[in-house]
Subunit: 140 residues, 2 copies
DNA sequence: ATCTATCGTGTAATAATTACAAAGTTGTAA
DNA sequence: TTACAACTTTGTAATTATTACACGATAGAT
Protein backbone atom coordinates (compact mmCIF):
# COMPACT_ATOMS: atom_id res chain seq x y z
CA UNK A 1 0.00 0.00 0.00
CA UNK A 2 2.72 2.41 -1.00
CA UNK A 3 5.62 1.30 -3.17
CA UNK A 4 3.65 -1.61 -4.53
CA UNK A 5 0.62 0.57 -5.00
CA UNK A 6 2.57 3.20 -6.89
CA UNK A 7 4.26 0.66 -9.08
CA UNK A 8 1.02 -1.10 -9.99
CA UNK A 9 -0.80 2.18 -10.34
CA UNK A 10 1.79 3.27 -12.84
CA UNK A 11 1.79 0.11 -14.82
CA UNK A 12 -1.99 0.03 -14.99
CA UNK A 13 -2.42 3.66 -15.84
CA UNK A 14 -0.51 3.06 -19.04
CA UNK A 15 -3.11 0.50 -19.98
CA UNK A 16 -6.01 2.66 -18.87
CA UNK A 17 -7.04 0.35 -16.10
CA UNK A 18 -7.78 1.73 -12.72
CA UNK A 19 -6.47 0.14 -9.59
CA UNK A 20 -9.43 -0.40 -7.36
CA UNK A 21 -9.06 -1.50 -3.78
CA UNK A 22 -10.04 -5.08 -4.63
CA UNK A 23 -7.63 -5.25 -7.51
CA UNK A 24 -4.85 -3.89 -5.41
CA UNK A 25 -5.56 -6.46 -2.74
CA UNK A 26 -5.53 -9.36 -5.17
CA UNK A 27 -2.27 -8.20 -6.70
CA UNK A 28 -0.80 -7.55 -3.28
CA UNK A 29 -1.80 -11.06 -2.27
CA UNK A 30 -0.11 -12.55 -5.30
CA UNK A 31 3.01 -10.54 -4.55
CA UNK A 32 3.17 -11.71 -0.98
CA UNK A 33 2.16 -15.29 -1.73
CA UNK A 34 4.22 -16.43 -4.63
CA UNK A 35 3.17 -20.02 -4.01
CA UNK A 36 0.92 -19.96 -7.06
CA UNK A 37 -2.40 -19.82 -5.25
CA UNK A 38 -5.76 -20.86 -6.62
CA UNK A 39 -8.78 -18.57 -6.81
CA UNK A 40 -10.14 -20.39 -3.81
CA UNK A 41 -7.08 -19.63 -1.71
CA UNK A 42 -6.95 -16.03 -2.75
CA UNK A 43 -10.62 -15.56 -2.08
CA UNK A 44 -10.67 -17.36 1.25
CA UNK A 45 -7.74 -15.41 2.62
CA UNK A 46 -8.76 -12.01 1.35
CA UNK A 47 -12.33 -12.47 2.42
CA UNK A 48 -11.15 -12.36 6.03
CA UNK A 49 -9.99 -8.80 5.47
CA UNK A 50 -12.55 -7.67 2.95
CA UNK A 51 -15.76 -9.21 4.14
CA UNK A 52 -17.76 -7.95 1.18
CA UNK A 53 -15.40 -9.44 -1.39
CA UNK A 54 -17.04 -11.49 -4.08
CA UNK A 55 -15.37 -14.50 -5.62
CA UNK A 56 -16.49 -13.19 -8.97
CA UNK A 57 -14.36 -10.13 -8.36
CA UNK A 58 -11.34 -12.34 -7.83
CA UNK A 59 -12.09 -14.09 -11.11
CA UNK A 60 -12.67 -10.78 -12.87
CA UNK A 61 -9.50 -9.26 -11.55
CA UNK A 62 -7.37 -12.24 -12.42
CA UNK A 63 -8.82 -12.53 -15.90
CA UNK A 64 -8.13 -8.87 -16.52
CA UNK A 65 -4.60 -9.01 -15.15
CA UNK A 66 -3.82 -12.12 -17.18
CA UNK A 67 -5.08 -10.51 -20.35
CA UNK A 68 -2.96 -7.45 -19.58
CA UNK A 69 0.10 -9.55 -18.92
CA UNK A 70 0.55 -8.72 -15.25
CA UNK A 71 -0.29 -12.20 -14.07
CA UNK A 72 0.32 -15.61 -15.57
CA UNK A 73 -1.84 -18.71 -15.38
CA UNK A 74 -0.14 -21.90 -14.29
CA UNK A 75 -1.89 -25.11 -15.24
CA UNK A 76 -0.09 -28.13 -13.96
CA UNK A 77 -2.96 -30.25 -12.78
CA UNK A 78 -6.00 -30.35 -14.98
CA UNK A 79 -8.29 -29.55 -12.10
CA UNK A 80 -6.67 -26.52 -10.54
CA UNK A 81 -5.88 -23.21 -12.12
CA UNK A 82 -3.13 -21.34 -10.36
CA UNK A 83 -1.87 -17.82 -10.69
CA UNK A 84 1.63 -16.40 -10.70
CA UNK A 85 2.54 -12.73 -10.51
CA UNK A 86 6.01 -13.59 -11.73
CA UNK A 87 5.64 -13.39 -15.47
CA UNK A 88 9.27 -13.87 -16.34
CA UNK A 89 10.11 -17.10 -18.12
CA UNK A 90 10.68 -19.75 -15.50
CA UNK A 91 9.82 -23.36 -14.93
CA UNK A 92 7.66 -24.99 -12.30
CA UNK A 93 8.18 -28.15 -10.36
CA UNK A 94 5.30 -29.74 -8.52
CA UNK A 95 6.10 -32.16 -5.74
CA UNK A 96 3.72 -35.08 -5.88
CA UNK A 97 4.04 -35.67 -2.15
CA UNK A 98 3.70 -32.27 -0.49
CA UNK A 99 2.00 -30.70 -3.54
CA UNK A 100 4.15 -27.59 -3.30
CA UNK A 101 5.12 -25.86 -6.47
CA UNK A 102 8.68 -24.65 -6.82
CA UNK A 103 10.08 -22.18 -9.30
CA UNK A 104 13.24 -22.90 -11.16
CA UNK A 105 15.35 -21.06 -13.65
CA UNK A 106 15.35 -22.17 -17.20
CA UNK A 107 16.85 -20.72 -20.30
CA UNK A 108 14.09 -21.17 -22.81
CA UNK A 109 16.28 -20.12 -25.67
CA UNK A 110 18.36 -23.19 -25.09
CA UNK A 111 15.36 -25.46 -25.33
CA UNK A 112 16.09 -27.10 -28.62
CA UNK A 113 13.05 -27.85 -30.65
CA UNK A 114 12.74 -29.55 -33.95
CA UNK A 115 9.84 -28.79 -36.20
CA UNK A 116 8.86 -25.38 -34.93
CA UNK A 117 10.90 -23.32 -37.36
CA UNK A 118 7.89 -21.80 -39.06
CA UNK A 119 5.81 -21.30 -35.92
CA UNK A 120 5.50 -17.98 -34.15
CA UNK A 121 6.05 -18.69 -30.48
CA UNK A 122 4.37 -16.29 -28.09
CA UNK A 123 4.40 -18.15 -24.82
CA UNK A 124 6.58 -20.91 -23.37
CA UNK A 125 5.76 -23.17 -20.48
CA UNK A 126 7.74 -25.86 -18.76
CA UNK A 127 6.72 -27.85 -15.78
CA UNK A 128 8.08 -30.93 -14.14
CA UNK A 129 6.64 -33.24 -11.56
CA UNK A 130 8.38 -35.41 -9.05
CA UNK A 131 9.56 -35.31 -5.47
CA UNK A 132 11.15 -32.36 -3.75
CA UNK A 133 14.31 -32.61 -1.63
CA UNK A 134 12.34 -32.26 1.59
CA UNK A 135 9.99 -35.11 0.81
CA UNK A 136 12.86 -37.20 -0.51
CA UNK A 137 14.71 -36.98 2.77
CA UNK A 138 11.57 -37.60 4.80
CA UNK A 139 10.90 -40.82 2.97
CA UNK A 140 14.23 -42.36 3.94
CA UNK B 1 -9.22 -54.55 -34.33
CA UNK B 2 -6.33 -56.89 -34.97
CA UNK B 3 -2.78 -55.64 -34.76
CA UNK B 4 -3.75 -52.84 -32.45
CA UNK B 5 -5.92 -55.14 -30.43
CA UNK B 6 -3.16 -57.68 -30.02
CA UNK B 7 -0.64 -55.07 -29.07
CA UNK B 8 -2.87 -53.46 -26.48
CA UNK B 9 -4.09 -56.81 -25.26
CA UNK B 10 -0.49 -57.79 -24.65
CA UNK B 11 0.49 -54.64 -22.93
CA UNK B 12 -2.54 -54.71 -20.67
CA UNK B 13 -2.29 -58.39 -19.83
CA UNK B 14 1.05 -57.69 -18.21
CA UNK B 15 -0.68 -55.26 -15.93
CA UNK B 16 -3.65 -57.54 -15.29
CA UNK B 17 -6.13 -55.27 -16.95
CA UNK B 18 -8.55 -56.66 -19.41
CA UNK B 19 -9.28 -55.03 -22.67
CA UNK B 20 -13.02 -54.62 -22.87
CA UNK B 21 -14.73 -53.50 -26.03
CA UNK B 22 -15.18 -49.98 -24.68
CA UNK B 23 -11.59 -49.69 -23.60
CA UNK B 24 -10.41 -50.93 -26.94
CA UNK B 25 -12.56 -48.39 -28.70
CA UNK B 26 -11.28 -45.50 -26.61
CA UNK B 27 -7.68 -46.53 -27.18
CA UNK B 28 -8.33 -47.09 -30.85
CA UNK B 29 -9.84 -43.64 -31.05
CA UNK B 30 -6.81 -42.07 -29.44
CA UNK B 31 -4.56 -43.93 -31.82
CA UNK B 32 -6.44 -42.76 -34.87
CA UNK B 33 -7.00 -39.23 -33.58
CA UNK B 34 -3.70 -38.02 -32.28
CA UNK B 35 -5.04 -34.49 -32.13
CA UNK B 36 -5.23 -34.67 -28.32
CA UNK B 37 -9.00 -34.91 -28.00
CA UNK B 38 -11.06 -34.01 -24.97
CA UNK B 39 -13.39 -36.41 -23.19
CA UNK B 40 -16.25 -34.66 -24.89
CA UNK B 41 -14.85 -35.29 -28.37
CA UNK B 42 -14.04 -38.88 -27.65
CA UNK B 43 -17.45 -39.50 -26.20
CA UNK B 44 -19.39 -37.69 -28.89
CA UNK B 45 -17.66 -39.52 -31.70
CA UNK B 46 -17.67 -42.96 -30.18
CA UNK B 47 -21.25 -42.65 -29.07
CA UNK B 48 -22.26 -42.71 -32.72
CA UNK B 49 -20.89 -46.21 -33.01
CA UNK B 50 -21.57 -47.47 -29.51
CA UNK B 51 -24.94 -46.05 -28.68
CA UNK B 52 -24.88 -47.42 -25.13
CA UNK B 53 -21.56 -45.83 -24.27
CA UNK B 54 -21.50 -43.83 -21.08
CA UNK B 55 -19.37 -40.76 -20.64
CA UNK B 56 -18.41 -42.11 -17.27
CA UNK B 57 -16.88 -45.08 -19.03
CA UNK B 58 -14.74 -42.76 -21.09
CA UNK B 59 -13.61 -41.04 -17.91
CA UNK B 60 -12.98 -44.35 -16.19
CA UNK B 61 -11.04 -45.75 -19.09
CA UNK B 62 -8.88 -42.69 -19.49
CA UNK B 63 -8.17 -42.48 -15.79
CA UNK B 64 -7.11 -46.09 -15.74
CA UNK B 65 -4.95 -45.79 -18.83
CA UNK B 66 -3.29 -42.66 -17.50
CA UNK B 67 -2.52 -44.34 -14.21
CA UNK B 68 -1.06 -47.31 -16.09
CA UNK B 69 1.02 -45.07 -18.29
CA UNK B 70 -0.61 -45.88 -21.62
CA UNK B 71 -2.07 -42.43 -22.04
CA UNK B 72 -0.86 -39.01 -21.03
CA UNK B 73 -2.87 -35.99 -19.93
CA UNK B 74 -2.18 -32.73 -21.72
CA UNK B 75 -3.21 -29.60 -19.90
CA UNK B 76 -2.55 -26.50 -21.90
CA UNK B 77 -5.66 -24.52 -21.24
CA UNK B 78 -6.97 -24.54 -17.74
CA UNK B 79 -10.44 -25.44 -18.86
CA UNK B 80 -9.86 -28.41 -21.11
CA UNK B 81 -8.20 -31.68 -20.30
CA UNK B 82 -6.82 -33.44 -23.32
CA UNK B 83 -5.46 -36.90 -23.82
CA UNK B 84 -2.50 -38.18 -25.80
CA UNK B 85 -1.72 -41.79 -26.55
CA UNK B 86 1.81 -40.80 -27.43
CA UNK B 87 3.57 -41.02 -24.10
CA UNK B 88 7.06 -40.39 -25.37
CA UNK B 89 8.63 -37.13 -24.28
CA UNK B 90 7.56 -34.47 -26.73
CA UNK B 91 6.41 -30.90 -26.67
CA UNK B 92 3.09 -29.37 -27.62
CA UNK B 93 2.34 -26.21 -29.47
CA UNK B 94 -1.14 -24.73 -29.38
CA UNK B 95 -2.11 -22.30 -32.10
CA UNK B 96 -4.09 -19.48 -30.61
CA UNK B 97 -5.93 -18.91 -33.88
CA UNK B 98 -7.02 -22.33 -35.11
CA UNK B 99 -6.68 -23.93 -31.67
CA UNK B 100 -4.92 -26.96 -33.11
CA UNK B 101 -2.28 -28.64 -31.03
CA UNK B 102 0.91 -29.71 -32.75
CA UNK B 103 3.54 -32.11 -31.49
CA UNK B 104 7.18 -31.25 -31.68
CA UNK B 105 10.39 -33.01 -30.81
CA UNK B 106 12.31 -31.86 -27.83
CA UNK B 107 15.30 -33.24 -26.09
CA UNK B 108 14.37 -32.87 -22.46
CA UNK B 109 17.83 -33.82 -21.29
CA UNK B 110 19.12 -30.68 -22.90
CA UNK B 111 16.68 -28.51 -21.03
CA UNK B 112 19.08 -26.81 -18.71
CA UNK B 113 17.65 -26.16 -15.33
CA UNK B 114 19.19 -24.38 -12.41
CA UNK B 115 18.08 -25.23 -8.93
CA UNK B 116 16.65 -28.69 -9.46
CA UNK B 117 19.77 -30.65 -8.61
CA UNK B 118 18.29 -32.26 -5.54
CA UNK B 119 14.82 -32.86 -6.99
CA UNK B 120 13.70 -36.22 -8.32
CA UNK B 121 12.09 -35.53 -11.66
CA UNK B 122 9.45 -38.01 -12.73
CA UNK B 123 7.60 -36.19 -15.46
CA UNK B 124 8.50 -33.37 -17.83
CA UNK B 125 6.13 -31.18 -19.77
CA UNK B 126 6.73 -28.45 -22.27
CA UNK B 127 4.14 -26.52 -24.16
CA UNK B 128 4.25 -23.40 -26.23
CA UNK B 129 1.54 -21.18 -27.55
CA UNK B 130 1.53 -18.97 -30.58
CA UNK B 131 0.52 -19.04 -34.21
CA UNK B 132 0.98 -21.94 -36.56
CA UNK B 133 2.42 -21.59 -40.08
CA UNK B 134 -1.00 -22.06 -41.66
CA UNK B 135 -2.61 -19.28 -39.67
CA UNK B 136 0.44 -17.08 -40.13
CA UNK B 137 0.14 -17.25 -43.90
CA UNK B 138 -3.61 -16.77 -43.81
CA UNK B 139 -3.25 -13.56 -41.88
CA UNK B 140 -1.08 -11.96 -44.54
C1' DA C 1 -23.10 -74.07 -12.98
C1' DT C 2 -21.45 -71.10 -9.40
C1' DC C 3 -18.74 -67.74 -7.51
C1' DT C 4 -16.08 -63.56 -7.48
C1' DA C 5 -13.91 -59.76 -9.08
C1' DT C 6 -14.02 -56.50 -12.47
C1' DC C 7 -16.49 -53.46 -15.70
C1' DG C 8 -20.08 -50.43 -17.67
C1' DT C 9 -23.95 -47.59 -17.05
C1' DG C 10 -27.05 -43.98 -15.37
C1' DT C 11 -28.12 -40.77 -12.04
C1' DA C 12 -27.02 -37.72 -8.68
C1' DA C 13 -23.70 -34.85 -6.43
C1' DT C 14 -19.65 -31.61 -6.47
C1' DA C 15 -16.88 -28.19 -7.94
C1' DA C 16 -15.06 -24.73 -10.99
C1' DT C 17 -16.15 -21.17 -13.91
C1' DT C 18 -19.01 -17.92 -16.43
C1' DA C 19 -23.10 -15.04 -17.59
C1' DC C 20 -25.82 -11.50 -16.36
C1' DA C 21 -28.13 -7.74 -14.26
C1' DA C 22 -28.42 -4.52 -10.57
C1' DA C 23 -26.12 -1.24 -7.68
C1' DG C 24 -22.07 1.39 -6.58
C1' DT C 25 -17.88 4.24 -8.00
C1' DT C 26 -14.92 7.12 -10.53
C1' DG C 27 -13.52 10.62 -13.63
C1' DT C 28 -14.62 14.41 -16.12
C1' DA C 29 -16.94 17.97 -18.70
C1' DA C 30 -20.13 21.53 -18.32
C1' DT D 1 -21.29 21.13 -7.97
C1' DT D 2 -23.93 18.51 -10.95
C1' DA D 3 -24.65 15.34 -14.52
C1' DC D 4 -23.39 11.72 -17.15
C1' DA D 5 -20.90 7.91 -19.11
C1' DA D 6 -17.78 4.33 -18.31
C1' DC D 7 -16.10 1.15 -15.42
C1' DT D 8 -16.38 -2.03 -11.08
C1' DT D 9 -18.23 -4.90 -7.73
C1' DT D 10 -21.45 -7.95 -6.15
C1' DG D 11 -24.83 -11.74 -5.84
C1' DT D 12 -27.34 -15.09 -8.06
C1' DA D 13 -28.18 -18.20 -11.49
C1' DA D 14 -26.55 -21.01 -15.20
C1' DT D 15 -23.14 -23.89 -17.33
C1' DT D 16 -19.70 -27.19 -17.60
C1' DA D 17 -16.46 -30.61 -16.15
C1' DT D 18 -15.67 -34.19 -13.16
C1' DT D 19 -16.57 -37.54 -9.52
C1' DA D 20 -19.32 -40.61 -6.42
C1' DC D 21 -22.11 -44.25 -6.07
C1' DA D 22 -25.06 -48.14 -6.65
C1' DC D 23 -26.67 -51.68 -9.40
C1' DG D 24 -26.79 -54.82 -13.22
C1' DA D 25 -23.75 -57.22 -16.65
C1' DT D 26 -19.68 -59.90 -17.83
C1' DA D 27 -15.60 -62.76 -17.83
C1' DG D 28 -12.59 -65.93 -15.83
C1' DA D 29 -11.68 -69.45 -12.28
C1' DT D 30 -13.23 -73.54 -9.92
MN1 LIG E 1 6.28 -19.29 -10.60
MN1 LIG F 1 1.20 -35.09 -28.36
ZN1 LIG G 1 7.54 -32.31 -1.39
ZN1 LIG H 1 -3.32 -22.14 -36.51
Amino acid sequence: MNQLFDRLQNELKKKNINLSYQRLKVLEYLTQNQCHPTVEQIYTDLEKEISTLSKTTVYNTLKKMVSEGLVRIITIEDNETRYDINTHDHGHFKCEICKNIFDFDINMDLVLTKGLERFKILDRNVYFKGICPGCLSNSK
